[in-house]
């Protein structure tokens, strides 16, 4: 069985809590909070004003540039205010607050569960629809999807790689989506293949989801040019570069995009959203969120409209368990620990809510590095985390750059594996930000010199 070729770790997958829990719809909130940044790139610009009435699917905010994404209303009601808002991690931003009234959708949106198989649109029209629907990568990075579908001149996509790996422990939303909406995903893949002009699509699924592999394989048998590829369990297989390596054995060079090796990668949830946008005229207004943890009363996979305060989703799962130490937005390897849950809405970025007990939340004390080299063995990018972390602490930015700090994908394998409990990423992350800033400055200076 295939997998990626450098590094990787084997965390306990802990998916048993929420696996196979049917996708349950979360009730609408009284007030929805819609942050204007739910993607990588420029913030979206609000196109509505206070007091406006909106329907579900109406444009609330327009993409603030090419690398940005539209935000469509996930609820119907009246705009209460547009203003300052702070997220669960304390970062300030702008948000639109909507007082929810009923659930009125734009008339062109098809809300029936009927499959719409035929797609007669031209590639350009497909991409326009995806862009208008505000679709971003739902695997975690939230990169605007239309940007990936428009490769720079001279580059040609050869293969579409569909990410059904879900390598983050605990999370099961993609797994359940494949089980319940496999047909839609297949149609979505055909649409994307058409948009990209590729003949071949590979769905990579890790071997801990045997039923999903079987189900998708059965569907793929009647779909031309779609292969299902079971992958050996290893984290971070869902990382874009790792998945390409695992599926087609090509490694994207340092600093380059997947298109460099002829690949475009999209997550199954993103592809489901593409199906809904192109075939059912339904913009991205909701997603499946896994609520899980060892002590959660009703762990499960919940279909949540964006803007719904997460407190309401948590209540549906039985509330915050007693003795909770951390609430993680996302999975345990790359998710972010929230300071609080108030005023925090579900949004495009949020794939899961994971509750860790106080005991599980303890970061053991750091010991001396024993130079065992386990971080080097674990790093899926072939970097030297022990060295980068030290260099970053000592502010040796040039050395950081020479040792490819910018290739770090933040996967956490080094910290996960370190027997001395060293917090390597606590040094590498700020180092990466600093070196990134230096590189941008240098590029700007070079441009100015021309």
């Amino acid at each position: 069985m295939k997998t990626f070729h450098i590094g990787g770790v084997h965390p306990q997958d802990n998916k048993q809590f929420s696996a196979h829990q049917p996708i349950t719809e979360c009730p609408l909130p009284k007030q929805a909070i819609i942050p204007l940044v739910q993607h990588i790139g420029a913030p979206a610009q609000a196109v509505v004003k206070e007091g406006d009435k909106v329907k579900v699917g109406e444009l609330l905010a327009q993409a603030g540039g090419f690398v940005s994404a539209n935000i469509c209303s996930p609820v119907s009601g009246k705009i209460a205010k547009i203003g300052e808002w702070t997220d669960a991690w304390g970062a300030p931003g702008q948000a639109i607050f909507i007082d929810v009234e009923g659930d009125e959708w734009l008339p062109e949106i098809d809300r029936t569960p009927d499959l719409a198989r035929q797609c007669t649109l031209e590639p350009k029209a497909i991409i326009d629809k995806i862009s208008a629907a505000g679709i971003v990568g739902l695997g975690g990075a939230c990169f605007p999807t239309h940007v990936k579908l428009l490769p720079p001149p001279g580059k040609k996509a050869e293969v579409l790689i569909v990410n059904g790996v879900e390598c983050e422990p605990y999370l099961t939303c993609d797994h359940q989506l494949m089980l319940e909406h496999g047909e839609e995903i297949m149609i979505g893949i055909q649409i994307l293949k058409k948009a990209l002009g590729v003949e071949r699509a590979i769905i990579g699924i890790e071997n801990n989801k045997k039923d999903a592999i079987e189900h998708m394989q059965k569907l793929a048998n009647s779909n031309l040019g779609i292969e299902v590829l079971p992958l050996k369990l290893k984290y971070p297989q869902g990382g874009e570069k790792q998945l390409i390596d695992a599926c087609i054995g090509r490694q994207v060079p340092s600093g380059a995009l997947p298109i460099e090796v002829g690949a475009v990668v999209d997550n199954v949830a993103t592809i489901f959203a593409i199906y809904e946008a192109v075939q059912k005229n339904k913009p991205l207004v909701s997603r499946v969120i896994t609520v899980t943890g060892k002590h959660v009363a009703k762990p499960g996979n919940y279909l949540v409209r964006f803007g719904t305060p997460i407190d309401e989703v948590i209540a549906l799962a039985g509330g915050v368990p007693a003795g909770t130490g951390k609430i993680i937005g996302g999975g345990p390897m790359m998710g972010r620990a929230m300071d609080h849950t108030e005023n925090m809405p579900a949004n495009k970025r949020l794939s899961g809510l994971l509750f860790l007990s106080e005991e599980e939340s303890i970061r053991p004390e750091e010991e001396n590095c024993i130079r065992c080299g386990k971080c080097v063995q674990a790093c899926p990018m072939g970097l030297e985390p022990y060295l980068l972390s030290r260099m970053a602490e000592l502010e040796m930015w040039e050395d950081c750059e020479k040792h490819d700090i910018m290739d770090c994908i933040d996967c956490g394998c080094c910290v996960f594996t370190c027997p001395a409990h060293r917090r390597l990423l606590d040094g590498i992350r700020p180092g990466k930000a600093k070196v990134g800033a230096i590189l941008r400055e240098r590029a700007a200076a070079a441009k100015a010199a021309k």
């Binding site: 024993i370 899926p380 990423l425």
Partner: protein
């Protein structure tokens, strides 16, 4: 507003710890130690006990009273392991006070002067051993015969190790000495003279395989050392001896297996990347065979490892296979 614990990702850990790794190495040494006790009796028990206790005590005293550390590190078991490895490298009949000096030098000079665990450039147990070898050459090369508990600790019968004969054969071409070598089966099972813990190749190999399987060490260092030694011996087989016989003796006698699986693989003093480890291993094998063949000492494992320890910062310039770059070599 209820607040929760905030910390950067990842929020999961493998559960591995320094202590666990040290403990596994100590466990992996146990089969070889059991053989030593059977063969060398009281000497094996007493020497190891003195060495381990002295190492732990030295670390604690220095850390507590000289460095005035708030937190003591003896709980990580690295001092226990150093003590055990030092004992493994000593003749079992060594006077107790020499063992004590060795332990104090190993931890005091070899480890704590540099700042404790993780900071030392040289393998502390070998620093202690080589210090003793140079300071007490007679005592350090007096090898008790494997007679178990029949003999008392200090009045053990002594004799030369197989390496002494091997060297003599290589130097003089006197093939008649081959009869003086233990049978290959005995060499493999450890029925021969030598340092306390080095004699039983079988037990050491089992321990080493255990460490590789539990991912405490990787195969790179032991395999490259053993392969280099085997190749060197095969090419340099003295006239009158069968190549396979000579290779087997070089591999099974002396400190080779102990060094390859347990000493050279010391985390702190070995390289980080796979290729660094392989070159490190080749260097050790080569230097050791040069010393065994032409040097003044019959055995060169300690020196070879220490010399290559000194090269580790250089070997760490060799970077691991980087994602997205064409394959190296």
């Amino acid at each position: 507003m209820k607040q929760f614990i905030v910390a950067p990702a990842p929020h999961a850990h493998s559960g591995d710890s320094v202590r666990r790794n040290m403990l596994l190495v100590i466990l992996a040494l146990m089969p070889a130690y059991v053989v030593s006790v059977i063969e060398f009796g009281w000497g094996a028990l007493i020497t190891a006990a003195i060495s381990v206790c002295a190492c732990v005590l030295t670390e604690w005293l220095i850390s507590r009273y000289l460095l005035k550390e708030q937190k003591q590190t003896i709980g990580d078991l690295s001092a226990v392991l150093t003590g055990l490895l030092l004992a493994f490298n000593l003749p079992s009949s060594l006077d107790w006070w020499i063992v004590l000096i060795g332990a104090v030098v190993a931890i005091g000079v070899g480890k704590m002067t540099f700042g404790g665990l993780g900071q030392n450039p040289f393998n502390p147990a070998l620093v202690g051993r080589v210090f003793l070898l140079i300071s007490f050459p007679a005592q350090m090369t007096t090898w008790p015969l494997a007679k178990g508990f029949e003999t008392s600790y200090l009045d053990a019968e002594t004799g030369a190790t197989p390496l002494y004969f091997l060297k003599h054969i290589a130097k003089t071409g006197d093939v008649s000495l081959v009869d003086q070598l233990p049978a290959l089966k005995d060499a493999f099972l450890g029925v021969m003279g030598g340092s306390l813990g080095e004699v039983c190749a079988l037990a050491l190999i089992l321990g080493g395989i255990f460490l590789i399987c539990t991912r405490v060490i990787t195969w790179h260092i032991p395999v490259s050392i053993i392969a280099t030694v085997a190749l060197f011996a095969w090419i340099g087989t003295p006239e009158g001896m069968e190549a396979h016989q000579y290779v087997a003796y070089e591999l099974l006698t002396g400190g080779l297996m102990l060094g390859a699986f347990f000493m050279a693989t010391d985390y702190v003093t070995s390289p980080m990347s796979a290729w660094g480890k392989i070159i490190f291993g080749i260097g050790i094998g080569f230097i050791m065979m040069v010393i065994r063949t032409w040097g003044a000492y019959p055995e060169g494992m300690s020196f070879a490892i220490l010399i290559m320890n000194a090269c580790v910062p250089l070997l760490n310039k060799i970077r691991p296979q980087h994602f997205g770059e064409p394959k190296k070599a």
